[in-house]
């Protein structure tokens, strides 16, 4: 089993969304970066519907005029831009937290598991999922998933292409993104991707057969049965207030 490094506070600096800043780094950021990360802070506190450009300006320590100059498309354009940036930050975390030399099936499981864990621990996403799930609704159109697909494709497809060729890599990455977004956004009683055993069941059971013959994989793999870990986790979480 590959090792997955969790994304968490290292005791120094600040985590804003998926972005980890070192102590004192905020003051050295460009205005544009402060605007974007300031917006993430606002989303974490108040959500999308209650955040205004004035809030973003105040958080970023600049004027509203500056914010509008940097983001002429307004708050919707800022949200789209931040979505792309934060997706890229999440992917950066994934690159550093999984073992890229692992067999491909393990790697795919680890990526899904790490992504789900990072998203579950992300304060901004937790707020949005709890109070404004429509903002990151992955099942209905409205460009929600397209920007994410574009970033993930740019980052993962070249790497996967080394294993399976560009066209197959394209479809595999899209499939994985849709799977992760769906199961993280809308909890399932069957699969909890924050449990590695469940991530393995999903990826090995559904995703890998969609793209590979079993003979292609370097390591034969059987999906694990529903585990005691899964059932105990669900018993614990079902009695708790949802996040």
């Amino acid at each position: 089993m590959s090792k997955v490094t969790p994304l968490g506070p290292d005791g120094l600096g600040e985590r804003i969304g998926f972005t980890q800043l070192a102590a004192g780094e905020w003051d050295n950021l460009s205005v544009e970066r402060r605007v974007k990360l300031g917006y993430v802070r606002c989303l974490t506190r108040w959500g999308r519907s209650k955040t205004t450009m004035a809030d973003v300006a105040r958080e970023a320590g600049c004027s509203r005029a500056t914010v509008y100059r940097l983001v002429p498309g307004g708050i919707d354009a800022l949200f789209d831009s931040v979505k792309v940036d934060q997706t890229a930050e999440l992917i950066e975390h994934l690159w550093t937290s999984v073992d890229l030399t692992a067999p491909l099936d393990d790697l795919l499981v680890d990526i899904c598991h790490a992504a789900a864990c990072a998203m579950a621990n992300n304060e901004m996403l937790r707020y949005l999922l709890r109070y404004e799930p429509e903002v990151i609704e992955p099942h209905v159109t409205l460009r929600t998933i397209e920007g994410v697909l574009e970033v993930c494709g740019r980052e993962f497809v070249p790497f996967m292409s080394n294993h399976i060729g560009a066209e197959r890599a394209d479809r595999l990455v899209e499939h994985l993104v849709r799977v992760v977004m769906s199961y993280v956004h809308s909890p399932s009683s069957h699969i909890d991707l924050t449990l590695r055993s469940d991530a393995e069941r999903l990826v090995v059971g559904f995703v890998i057969p969609a793209h590979f013959d079993s003979a292609e994989l370097t390591q034969q793999h059987q999906p694990p049965a529903r585990t005691q870990e899964h059932d105990e986790h669900h018993r614990r979480t079902s009695s708790q207030e949802p996040v």
């Binding site: 429509e134 409205l142 849709r178 809308s186 069941r201 969609a210 793209h211 999906p223």
Partner: protein
């Protein structure tokens, strides 16, 4: 009343819809509407959208029963691959042809989604149950995947791929066939 609400939503959008306009379009009094939806405008909109989504799911289910596009075979005789292909094609056409849905999405997507949030979960549950039943009926078996898990997976993937376009064109029958055969049902042949 619900049909009139949908009709007015297409013309007025979410922000422009009023109970008065719905009353006029449906030929009933405002009091009648408030007797049925005590919370007024917001509850009326949510009820109408939920109702319309339910009709949409029923139309998708009807793809199974009909024999259009199946070479004359009745729905029950088609295999799961063929039925899913027809369902995806039908869902894409229905979504793209639904003028009210398209105008709401274009005008105010986030507010529209906040209205249908609960309904989206309902659709997921409905489709999950539907597909689980299909998998059981077709006798699909898999080492470690039960019908409920498989049905839910299928529902999520159908909603995701139909709901937002990706690399595979859903207007191309060959593209749909490939998507169904691999991403949707590749696991059944493992």
């Amino acid at each position: 009343m619900l049909a009139a609400t949908i009709e007015r939503l297409g013309q007025d959008g979410l922000s422009g819809l009023t109970v008065e306009r719905v009353a006029k379009a449906s030929g009933v009094g405002r009091a009648t509407i408030y007797r049925r939806v005590a919370k007024g405008r917001d509850e009326l909109i949510t009820s109408a959208i939920t109702w319309e989504l339910g009709r949409f799911v029923d139309r998708l289910r009807a793809v199974d029963v009909g024999d259009g596009g199946g070479g004359g075979k009745k729905g029950a005789d088609k295999d799961l691959f063929e039925r899913l292909e027809l369902l995806v094609v039908g869902a894409v056409e229905a979504l793209e042809g639904h003028e009210v849905f398209q105008s709401l999405v274009a005008d105010d997507p986030i507010e529209f989604l906040s209205e249908i949030g609960g309904a989206s979960t309902l659709v997921l549950d409905l489709l999950s149950t539907e597909f689980a039943g299909e998998l059981e009926r077709m006798g699909v078996s898999h080492r470690e995947v039960d019908w409920a898990m498989g049905g839910e997976y299928l529902a999520r993937m159908v909603m995701s791929y139909v709901g937002s376009s990706g690399r595979v064109s859903l207007h191309d029958r060959a593209g749909v066939a490939s998507l169904v055969r691999h991403e949707f049902l590749g696991w059944t042949e493992a």
